[in-house]
């Protein structure tokens, strides 16, 4: 099927009244929850998952994508208005965005973010439509060796790009792999790490762990500095960028989009890397680098465009290879599995309506974001100022019901509570949980591909170096690891990531 027919099929899927309505619904809810301070995309998606359970597969996936964009954009709104980044990739937005808000230009900063995001989203979606089918057919030629190498690259990237020490991130990833191995081994049927509990035979549900660590863990951490929480929301002024704003932000948006589209495909923390690189690039080539950090509109438009472009294209490895590039994508895979879909190269050929419907609704979702966010910004500002002591019991209830409804299992609710405490523990000891989340999904895949690769090669590990693609991927992973030893990169990484949690 060529792209044009694909898009037509997608259009007919995405514009049925139900799917359109649920896309809107997803974007709306995602933004509404995403703007709440302290709730990043992972917590937002896991809280809103139960809303998609009762839906047919395509509608559910479309709504899920809507929630994902909504939560991404909601995070930027909070970053600009309150100086609280909802997730690591909006840290850069706070630098100049909140500075603009303080100068009374909050509306223009929000508009720059929305316009940048929309443009980037459009390009990102087109890029998916063009490249995903190509990559999927390429992926069908990948053997277990290549898959294993890609997984290693993804894990290494996510470790290099988290704040804190590499050793800590490595430990978190290993712990994630151990968690992922809990349950029945697919190959031998042996029950592993189940502590003789029937509830663990099917494994630990990934969504339960993510909800516990990110949803509940954040509640616990926020509650203890209840007194020091300042809820000052910058007032929103005119939403229309001036002619000068347009002139200043056009090129940054284009460059940010380019960076985002390319980096988003990279397995690992693509979104984060994209927004940081876009900001750094703008600052470097700007004629007035001294304005950055003091409310330069370029410093809002470029990273927001990059952020959103990467948020689109990071669907590519997930949809075509079945490999999540980021912790958020790992959660999306978890949600798809709940719906009974195993993402991978076959999705495109076996369920074309699903794939193309998703692509088209991604674009529709971005369009809705533009029209939803700017007029409704007053509503979002009100939502942000809801006091936390009203908010957190609601969050607790939503995560509890959400987790219970995945398998109708009370055991999952207890596990979620346990991982909430663990998430709090990780925060206290300075360990970033993103590699854990990614490793929990990638670990069992890595084991399976390693097993197959070694079975084919009769136990010869050099097979990973004889396939050019796998060798290349592993070399990139190795170089990334080496780069962290270089003092120059180390400095950049520390500066960029220090506030990222």
């Amino acid at each position: 099927m060529d792209i044009f027919n694909g898009l037509l099929l997608g259009l007919s899927t995405a514009t049925t009244l139900t799917n359109f309505a649920y896309c809107f619904f997803g974007v709306f809810l995602g933004t509404a929850v995403g703007v709440l301070p302290g709730l990043g995309p992972i917590a937002t998606i896991s809280m809103l998952l139960p809303f998609t359970f009762g839906l047919p597969v395509d509608t559910g996936l479309i709504m899920l994508a809507g929630i994902f964009y909504g939560s991404q954009y909601g995070g930027s709104t909070t970053a600009i208005l309150m100086n609280i980044p909802g997730e690591a990739s909006s840290v850069v937005t706070t630098l100049d965005g909140h500075e603009m808000a303080k100068q009374g230009k909050a509306g223009r900063a929000l508009a720059a973010a929305a316009i940048g995001s929309f443009f980037a989203g459009t390009v990102g979606t087109l890029f998916i439509a063009v490249s995903a089918p190509l990559l999927a057919s390429l992926a069908l030629t990948f053997g277990p060796t290549e898959y294993f190498a890609l997984i290693v690259l993804g894990l290494v990237t996510s470790m290099v790009l988290t704040s804190g020490s590499l050793l800590t991130a490595f430990g978190m990833a290993l712990f994630g792999v151990v968690l992922g191995m809990i349950g029945t081994d697919v190959n031998s049927g042996a029950a592993r790490f189940t502590f003789d509990s029937v509830n663990l035979l099917d494994g630990l549900d990934f969504v339960v762990v993510a909800t516990g660590i990110f949803g509940l863990g954040d509640v616990l951490a926020n509650l203890e500095n209840e007194r020091s929480r300042t809820a000052t929301v910058a007032p929103v002024s005119s939403l229309f960028p001036t002619a000068d704003d347009w002139r200043r932000m056009t090129a940054p948006i284009l460059r940010g989009t380019g960076i985002g589209v390319l980096l988003g495909v990279l397995p690992g923390a693509g979104v984060l890397l994209a927004s940081f690189s876009a900001y750094a690039l703008e600052k470097k080539i700007s004629k007035h680098p001294e304005q950055f950090g003091k409310g330069a509109i370029e410093g809002v438009a470029a990273p927001e465009a990059a952020n959103n472009a990467a948020a689109q294209t990071c669907f590519i490895p997930m949809l075509t290879l079945g490999l999540p590039g980021t912790a958020t994508m790992a959660l999306m895979i978890g949600a798809l599995v709940v719906q009974g879909i195993q993402p991978g190269p076959e999705i495109l050929t076996q369920q074309p309506a699903l794939f193309w419907g998703l692509v088209v609704s991604m674009w529709l979702g971005n369009l809705m974001l533009l029209f939803l966010n700017l007029p409704l910004v007053g509503l979002w500002a009100k939502l942000i100022s809801v006091p936390y002591h009203f908010l957190f019991p609601v969050i607790c209830v939503f995560v509890a019901i959400g987790v219970y409804s995945i398998n109708n299992s009370v055991f999952d609710v207890y596990m979620m509570a346990l991982f909430g405490v663990l998430g709090y523990f990780f925060k206290k000891v300075g360990a970033e949980p993103a590699p854990l989340i990614l490793a929990m999904i990638l670990g069992p895949m890595a084991e399976e591909y390693l097993r197959r690769a070694l079975l084919i090669s009769h136990g010869d590990a050099t097979v990973f170096f004889s396939s050019p693609l796998s060798l290349g991927t592993l070399v990139v992973a190795f170089l990334l690891l080496l780069s962290i030893v270089s003092p120059r990169f180390r400095k950049v990484r520390e500066e960029g990531l220090q506030d990222a949690d």
Partner: protein, 152 residues
């Protein structure tokens, strides 16, 4: 000796690694060409032990003290989730939501036990039941099986 971040994290990784390794040795290891269910777990848990020990070693070099821990929410909020889990099947969703709302809210310093808190929790419980069970069709009991037993 004052506890530092690295000591706690190192101990945590080492403990998890040791527990996982002791369980993993009982699974058939297999060979490289035919990996058994124990092959990968043993590699991973050994690496985890080594990482944990390295972090413990690192803790002697730099010492980052743990930020103060607010014990009250850390204990009370998970406990109220536990209560929700215990209540949802025998008592039904509305009662479980009501309990979870009131119990978790009570950990906040701004919470007062007065009629408004209870009315709010009750209204929220009703809202959740309508939203999740009636509108979204999640198979969660409104009236728990224990209460149903009492009624019949």
């Amino acid at each position: 000796m004052k506890l530092s971040q690295d000591i706690l994290l190192g101990l945590f990784f080492t403990t998890v690694g040791v527990v996982a390794a002791t369980m993993a040795v009982s699974y058939p290891f297999g060979t490289s060409s035919r990996m058994g269910p124990g092959y990968f777990p043993i590699i991973i848990s050994s690496l985890l032990i080594v990482t944990g020990l390295l972090i413990l070693l690192r803790s002697r070099l730099t010492r980052v003290v743990i930020p103060t821990v607010g014990w009250k929410p850390v204990i009370a909020v998970p406990l109220s989730i536990l209560v929700f889990g215990l209540a949802v099947e025998p008592l039904g969703l509305p009662i479980a939501v009501f309990l979870l709302t009131v119990l978790s809210a009570s950990t906040s310093e701004k919470f007062r036990f007065d009629w408004r808190a209870f009315a709010g929790a009750a209204a929220f419980a009703a809202f959740c039941s309508i939203l999740f069970v009636d509108l979204l069709g999640l198979p969660v009991p409104i009236v728990g099986n224990w209460l149903q037993g009492l009624a019949s």
